[in-house]
Symmetry: C2
Subunit: 348 residues, 2 copies
């Protein structure tokens, strides 16, 4: 356990904790008192058939999903749906290296897989709310990995699925990209094998980690067109310092590494002995596959190749010069596209 004031309701808004008790992970370790942090929006109806699950991405929490994706008048409308946003394991609010005591604290935290998150989320929804079927599962990036995992693992429980800017089986290039992120942290002597005293000594490492996000997270046009200017920055470096570096600076390095390991290994074909077509063929959900056109590491062609393997699916490409991090919704045109596609999906 390491104190980190960032992971608190004052930064992320209110949330609840659900304990799974001792939770056995796919890699064969038992996470004691495994907790999921979640937030709900709207009311569950009596038939319990208006539930939507919103998942989270690398470094993200329910906060950004709440602020950018959910709201009255939006596709994810809490006046119509009961929306549950569940924080992924390792994201700092749910059980994570930095907030775990004992054997599994910090560098001792066990390896977690996307499948662990999805099994844990399924239990939360069923045991806490009695939800047996979801109108929609939706998430971006690693949230898309969880969305695919839901649709393949629990086909009967997922009526619709909207994986945004992510893949069902992580690509080799994505693995290498994530590894470069990982090594900015693990190569720093202050990392001490994950047993650092505090994370302030790792601020430089986190900045290097952020700068690799700068290279891959946006698009070449984002930088060329100076799209950071309308966001209130005076130069590209000002934007990197004030937005990209600042975003990651308060985070716990081990927490990021926990998520990175999981991201690298997201793969629904683990259910079908490596046969991706067989895994995706299991999906019964109506699925909108929603890549971002300028995404440098989940390029549309990778997503399109998977979409072709999903029976009842459509490819819906989002246009955004923001690239992958367009997910943050900082470009005005982004959210209307999301809402249009999710609205169509929900009414189909």
């Amino acid at each position: 356990m390491i104190d980190n004031p960032f992971y608190a309701p004052e930064f992320h808004g209110p949330y609840e904790l659900f304990s799974l008790g001792d939770f056995v992970l796919e890699e064969g370790y038992t996470l004691r008192d495994c907790r999921l942090a979640y937030a709900t929006f709207g009311e569950l109806n009596e038939a319990k058939d208006n539930a939507i699950l919103v998942t989270t991405w690398y470094s993200g929490t329910h906060q950004i999903m709440r602020d950018v994706y959910i709201g009255p008048g939006r596709a994810l409308n809490p006046e119509e749906y009961f929306i549950v946003a569940i924080n992924q394991i390792g994201n700092g609010l749910s059980s994570s290296p930095h907030n775990t005591d004992g054997t599994h604290a910090m560098a001792g935290f066990p390896r977690v897989r996307i499948g662990d998150d999805v099994r844990a989320q399924e239990r939360l929804l069923r045991e806490l709310f009695g939800i047996e079927r979801l109108e929609l599962v939706v998430g971006g990036s690693m949230g898309a990995q969880q969305t695919y995992e839901w649709a393949v693992r629990f086909p009967e429980k997922v009526k619709r699925a909207a994986p945004i800017a992510g893949t069902a089986r992580n690509t080799p290039h994505d693995f290498i990209y994530t590894q470069a992120l990982v090594e900015t942290i693990t190569s720093d002597p202050a990392f001490e094998g994950g047993w650092y005293e505090g994370s302030s000594g790792l601020r430089s490492a986190l900045a290097r980690h952020a700068r690799i996000w700068s290279v891959m997270g946006f698009s070449t046009e984002f930088w060329k067109q100076e799209r950071w200017r309308p966001l209130g920055f005076a130069s590209a470096d000002d934007f990197q310092v004030g937005f990209v570096d600042a975003y990651f600076a308060p985070m716990d390095p081990n927490d990021l590494l926990c998520m990175a390991w999981k991201w690298q290994r997201g793969d629904v074909s683990r259910h079908t002995e490596g046969d991706l077509a067989a895994a995706l063929g299991r999906i019964s959900a109506k699925t909108f596959v929603m890549p971002i056109d300028e995404d440098m590491f989940f390029p549309p062609r990778d997503c399109a190749a998977e979409q072709k393997l999903i029976p009842n699916s459509e490819l819906r490409v989002i246009e955004s010069t923001g690239g992958h991090l367009g997910l943050f919704g900082f470009e005005e045109s982004f959210i209307p596209q999301i809402d249009r596609h999710l609205g169509e999906l929900l009414s189909s």
Copy 2:
């Protein structure tokens, strides 16, 4: 000066040295006994009108240009042309941080710009060979930066130009990408501000530098299609260890940093107070702008935007899943395309 056996004829093939004497750099420092390493192929005719200049890229030397781009029966045919391949300053064969003595040794090496290389190359060609006009200037990546600089700075001396996979004015994204490369080295405590005893302590840093090349240097499809397999590797990591890491491992870190600084600031519009259209409008050379379709950091659209500003030019896109590092010619289809375009250019 630091001993580095890699920078020797046994690894790069024979070359000559030309001394410029004391050479004043654009940044206002005097490089004493500035030397250019060069190699020639073919014979200069009496009229001295069959000369071609071949430039080098980041980390590259005349060796790869000789082995991959030049040869009998090729567009760059030494039976027809007098081909001079000149190593850029900082590449380890020409004057570079690691092979310089005194004040300018190692971290004391002054900042060098693309314009310095081009002025130095012009002197070599004129003073040593009496060459006043070039049939062609051609180079890839940073070699393309030098090619553009030649065509803008000395329009009357360049009859044809072929910048491959590079830009006339470096893009903001490219700057950020290169900075991420730089920081893998400068952030390592063993770097000691550039005053390391030997570079073996920086092997890990050089490997991280290499791994960022893995992320950006190829294409997402290169990794997905396992295009490393025909190159004789058993896994993606085997390829990274055996090809990418191994390529950079013997190099001098300060030499790489010298080239990186130069790359980041390549900009022909320095001649025209920042007006890129005016700079490129000066070019009288018949110019083929040759981006690689899958290049992640010199994407065709950046090159196409520049090509439109060059009076007598054509856009010739090279198709290569190899991405930027397709320049190495490891994909069978790459060199025939280069030869076809250069052949057409030379016969026009």
